[in-house]
Symmetry: none
């Protein structure tokens, strides 16, 4: 590691989801010898997983190129293999702190092993993590394809939820959107909300509530996920235990799917002491239609800079843009 | 077809490259019952191919998910299969003219079979096609199989070019890619470039220049294609006249094939009589970081709206955005 401290990398990529690996594939093919820090350190909120949120996704059906679907972790292995094939260096550590330069000198990054590295260009692709309720039973089922998900758009069309009663936790616009999306597939969609009114805009509320198979359970929180083994012996959600936030009364709701839609948080904690600009929701602000941030030589891609689309394919496209933007920037500065 | 004229489609997607199929995958999974018009009509400039430019690409190495690479046509077959799997209707025709409404009524599209269809939302993903130098002698030979082509991958392996000296015009990544491909078949490949340095990435330059039978002719433009009749009496290219962009000196290079690789133009001719806004280069202008055009309910994705990145993965990401934007727009308008 001592050697790394004295040499300046052309491109360091932070994060190893679809955007990070795609940036690495393109940067490596452009002979930029990229170094990917995969991100293994635990950060708030939630764990930062190498491979990103797809590591929690059993079946990816909407990433183009895999008509039969592909398991999220398998897909990320393919991405990594492709990045390595063209000469990407992969480091099993995280970047814990950034000191971005403003005078054209290399940026300084601190690693989770306590080392310091330097890079002319930095691509931030640390993603975002779904906010979860915080129950052990919830996390266990979410990690094992047990019918608990934080993304209705990704998972809602899966056969296991078709013509079943499912529930959505949340009360904002994206909860309404996810719930409305689910009404197309599920026999019934119950929105579970802790208050007696929704934060969502009226139009979003109406769109959901106008569906025949839509309902809202007011003043309820989920306190436990219950499960049963399926024919294969895999635990699948069978019900949630609810607690009334007004009366304290407990009840049970039999469901075959639980979608947690209480927002996402971009993984930006390690950037807090920098001059990097964020939007009002805390996502990295990008210039025009590029991957450029407000800091020279610092680019961002994927969910850490996208509160809107948040798909594997859009993140990958952004990763490609970041690598091409970084390559052009390095060329413009005479650094390659 | 009469039935189609009376019903209004939720989403019609024009074009069947990476962006079109990705839009279809997402739109179909959102139950929007998308209809893809694949594009088979000949348009200026050049032919519009179903499947887009990837149908002319032998090995795609940079689309994430295929570490060993994948043939372009095979990749497009997978995309199409995935779109069909979720309920996309595929029509083997092109859209020849659009009448976009401005009053909230459905848009009207004319098909190459002379039919008229209606759609609430339209996603334009017609891509871009190759540019030519613009010489009469070039076009004449290109139109008659005279040894002038804009696609080395399609034509480079033809017997007429085997073990012959051929030339490539251009200096970008795709010019290098075409030239490198040709070194497998031709006895010698001369890249003719108007400047004293190439725009292509280093790795692409090196890959070409490392070939024994590769050379670059700097500061040269082609001002005429010369030809001779073959045994059958058909005119075939025999040489190009070159002009030095620095000294103005003219010279002649004896070749048996000329491959033009000087960029692309968006396939927008069928949109010329609409109120759609384009950028200075003729690409469809998109709003902010979305797929929205200046016309309500009209979205664009892929190379037809992207002069900058033009990759399969970026086009796919844009296709996803277009489908999600269209879905939100249809929801906002109460059309789904």
């Amino acid at each position: 590691m001592a050697q790394e401290s004295t040499s300046v990398h052309k491109v360091v990529i932070i994060g190893s989801g679809p955007s990070g690996w795609t940036a690495a594939i393109y940067a490596a093919r452009a002979n930029l010898e990229p170094v990917v820090y995969v991100g293994v350190a635990k950060q708030d909120p939630g764990p930062v997983l190498p491979g990103g949120q797809l590591m929690l996704t059993t079946d990816v059906e909407n990433y183009p190129g895999f008509p039969e679907g592909i398991a999220g972790p398998e897909m990320m292995m393919k991405f990594e293999e492709q990045a390595r094939r063209f000469g990407t260096t992969v480091v099993g550590e995280d970047i814990t702190k950034c000191e971005f330069s403003s005078d054209g000198s290399p940026h300084t990054l601190h690693t989770s092993s306590g080392d310091t590295i330097q890079a002319h260009a930095v691509i931030i692709s640390t993603g975002a993590t779904a906010n979860w309720i915080g129950l052990d039973s919830e996390m266990k089922l979410a990690m094992t394809g047990g019918g608990v998900s934080a993304c209705a758009v990704c998972d809602g069309a899966l056969p296991m939820f078709r013509d079943q009663h499912v529930a959505v936790v949340g009360g904002g616009d994206s909860a309404m959107e996810e719930a409305t999306f689910l009404t197309k597939f599920a026999s019934k969609v119950s929105v579970i909300h802790r208050r007696d009114e929704l934060r969502a805009s009226k139009v979003m509320q109406e769109r959901f509530l106008n569906k025949e198979n839509a309902e809202v359970l007011w003043n309820k929180t989920v306190i436990e996920c219950l499960s049963e083994p399926d024919q294969m012996g895999n635990e699948k959600i069978s019900a949630v235990r609810l607690k009334d936030t007004v009366t304290g009364e407990e009840s049970e709701l039999a469901i075959k799917g639980l979608f947690v839609a209480i927002g996402h948080s971009p993984a930006t904690k390690f950037l807090q002491d920098t001059a990097l600009e964020f939007d009002s929701a805390g996502y990295i602000d990008l210039k025009d239609r590029s991957s450029k941030t407000n800091i020279e030589g610092v680019f961002a891609a994927g969910d850490v800079a996208d509160a809107k689309y948040r798909q594997a394919i859009t993140a990958s496209g952004m990763g490609c843009q970041a690598a091409l933007d970084a390559e052009h920037w390095l060329g413009d500065k005479g650094l390659i």
